[in-house]
Amino acid sequence: MRTRILAARIAICLCLFCATQARGQVTFERILNSGKEPHNWMTYSGDYLGRRFSPLDQINTTTARQLVAKWVYQTGATGKLETTPLVVDGILYATAQDDRAFALDARTGRPIWLYQHALPGDIRPCCGRVNRGLAILDDKVFLGTLDAHVIALDTKTGNVLWDVTAADYRVGYSFTVAPLAVRNLVVIGVSGGEYGVRGFIDAYDATTGERKWRFYTVPGPGEPGHETWEGNSWKVGGAPAWNTGTYDAATNQIFWPTGNPAPSNRGEGRAGDNLYSNSLLALNADTGQMNWYFQFTKHDEHDWDATQVPVMFDEAGKHLIAQANRNGFFYVLDRAQGKLISASAYGKITWSDRKDAEGRPVAKKEASPTLAGHTVCPGALGTTNFMAPAYDPQTSLFYVTARDQCDIFSTAPQPYEAGHAYYGSAYFPSDEAEPYRGFLKAIDPATGEIKWKFEHTSPTWSGVLTTAGGLVFTGDAEGNFIALDAAAGKALWHFQMGGAVYAAPIGFAVDGKEFVAIAAGSAIYAFGLP
């Protein structure tokens, strides 16, 4: 009798557990309709369109002045925090250096679980032991690691549900990107452009970790585009895919940007356009087959990865996709066929003085690096870089962090050796261009015109958030978190966080109260109204 009652109780409990579990699931449909859940931030850019726009408006141009810090979470990690947190139903999920992942109570910043991937001692990631965030789908969050694993963690416990090895870290492959969860797939692009890897974008079954497709960003023998590589240069051609793409449900296409051909500072030995480096790729989400591509910088010799987030919006009935590119031009494309609509300079550039028949800026011959080196603008860090941009449907403006900096680009022959840095020389800061200047710029995509700019004290790596409250949020190198008027660019509020910003802000709400959050220094900060 007693046993039966107990069994019944267990059954009831289990059933309740099932129900809770089902409600907590982050389905593909929920992410697709993220606008219906403005309190959540369920994917890297806030929505599949890449807008980094929060539809919340409690914090607005009137109330922004009252913002206060609500909590700070110290990650205990040193180095750059590039993470974009996710927030689902009151729980915040984020990452930190050396492939830490954690879940916090989004109201208080108190940890719920912590995970750290055991990394081998001999990894040598290019640009810091960084990670840009997680993807979430159903009851799992997904992490790409510096030793090129893709890992699924239980959202409730942080336990590893599956762990697959995508590539060999010893020859330079790694993951730093926040994956993109689409349908039942986890899409992820590889890093390693500094090592002469052969770049790829992978899709894994979210339930099992089985790889469903791989798109090599450097075509192999017999594939279209292979002829754009001289000799065997394709084998070490680079074209990594280290920043998060976006997804268009109407056409079931993933838009994913790619990085520099390798070696980054030497074009000799890889004659040709070097497809699909520095391109935007439109891939069928189910199969990974390419529908179209657009190459921003052909045969790049300046390390101008085109890995910036591609952002979708519609204008006068046209379905568009735009990218503020590292090479200093803001490109607007038709997203059905990848046809170029406009390319406008949004920063200081000296590398191009004409456009081809399609309207694409063409590199001057004399912009090529030389043995002794000479100055080209933008510098190797680009007019922008990985910092996430934002688009505000209310102002119809595109917001991007930009820098004016020029570098001396030099080139030298360098043999490829597996696992060794493969740059073909290097760049040096050019004194001619000092001081280096940093801005937040508001671009009108219809005209390419800069509507306003806010000059920082020095260039920053902070991303941007826009909100329905008429605000733009960004950080700076001096440690400030700043709220600006989205229409005019006037700073309305700031808070000194005590650490430089390399991450992008997000917006969310818990218990009906709006928050904005950003990583700076070694911590994650959340702000709200008193």
Binding site: R124, G128, E194, S410, F428, D431, S458, E478, I482, H494
Partner: protein, 298 residues
């Protein structure tokens, strides 16, 4: 109100700041490592720098270009940012093992970053570091450094007629408005020091180098007018979009909020006068540089 603010050594590498992020081993473990290395150096023949190996030197040159040339210049001849490594006499390094440690771990208190943290290279393996050492040894000028100038006379000028010490400190003596020059002789080439005296605005000196900030503060000239109409002119100690911390010529420190100022102007014209050959002859300048070089080598 006057604050004494300790100026960090002015040998900044702006790019070193950018990604000065990898955890540095605590000093203690560096020393422990040194001891271990010293103990094991005799039997660790394979780890020894392959001196004179042309192939290793060539490989080291690639690595040098990627990892070191940013500050130490192409050919290791130095620049405005880092010392000339072709000089046989180096301040921090004598043996290959010391060089290995310095490249691996950086030099605390200077802009020399630990391996892999200069923001440009990807970090080197031990083998690659040893190739770089071979390369540096291959380009060293074997003869002792040419000695130009009379350091004793330079010292007299520095603290006397040339007026350098009105603004600059060396070994605890002098002013605070300009950078402390005690260490400058060890980290700058002679040419870079001469250029800084002749053309102080060409490349402003780096001041505060916050580990969290990509670009260190420079000695920019700041002129403000406060709300009550007082004009203050001096050098920036630090600045962000909303505040400025500055020192005027009488070494007063001011902590100001920009939105409370009537005006704020920043200029890259250095507050230091350009010393033309009429003001300071070539031989006298050589003497001052000789003085700074002698102090900097200590």
């Amino acid at each position: 109100m006057s604050f004494v603010i300790q100026q960090p050594e002015v040998v900044g590498n702006r790019f070193a700041r950018k990604r000065l992020k990898r955890e540095r081993p605590p000093l203690l473990s560096v020393f422990a490592g040194l001891l271990l290395l010293a103990a094991s150096a005799a039997d660790a023949a394979d780890d020894r720098n392959p001196a004179g190996d042309a192939k290793a030197a060539a490989a080291g040159e690639y690595e040098f270009r990627i990892n070191c040339a940013l500050c130490h210049g192409l050919g290791a001849r130095g620049g405005g940012r880092g010392p000339d490594l072709t000089r046989a006499q180096k301040k921090h390094v004598h043996s290959d093992e010391e060089m290995f440690q310095v490249i691996s771990n950086g030099i605390p208190g200077t802009a020399m970053p630990a391996n892999g943290t200069n923001g440009q290279g990807v970090g080197m393996t031990d083998e690659e570091i040893r190739q770089i050492i071979t390369y540096i040894r291959s380009v060293e000028v074997k003869a002792g450094a040419r000695s130009i100038g009379n350091g004793a006379h330079g010292k007299e000028l520095f603290y006397g007629n040339a007026n350098c010490s009105l603004c600059h400190m060396v070994e605890g003596r002098g002013g605070r408005v300009g950078p402390d020059l005690t260490a400058v002789g060890g980290s700058r080439t002679r040419e870079a020091m001469i250029d800084s005296v002749r053309n102080p605005s060409r490349r402003l000196a780096w001041g505060l180098t916050e580990p969290t900030k990509e670009f260190p503060q420079e000695y920019e000239t700041i002129t403000v007018v406060t709300a009550d109409g007082k004009e203050i002119k001096g050098v920036a100690l630090n600045e962000d979009s909303f505040t400025v911390q500055m020192m005027d010529l009488s070494e007063q420190v001011y902590l100001l909020e920009k939105d409370k100022l009537r005006s704020f102007e920043k200029s890259r014209e250095s507050i230091m006068p350009a010393y033309s050959p009429d003001l300071l002859g070539g031989r006298d300048l050589d003497d001052i540089v000789a003085f700074l070089t002698t102090v900097g080598a200590k």
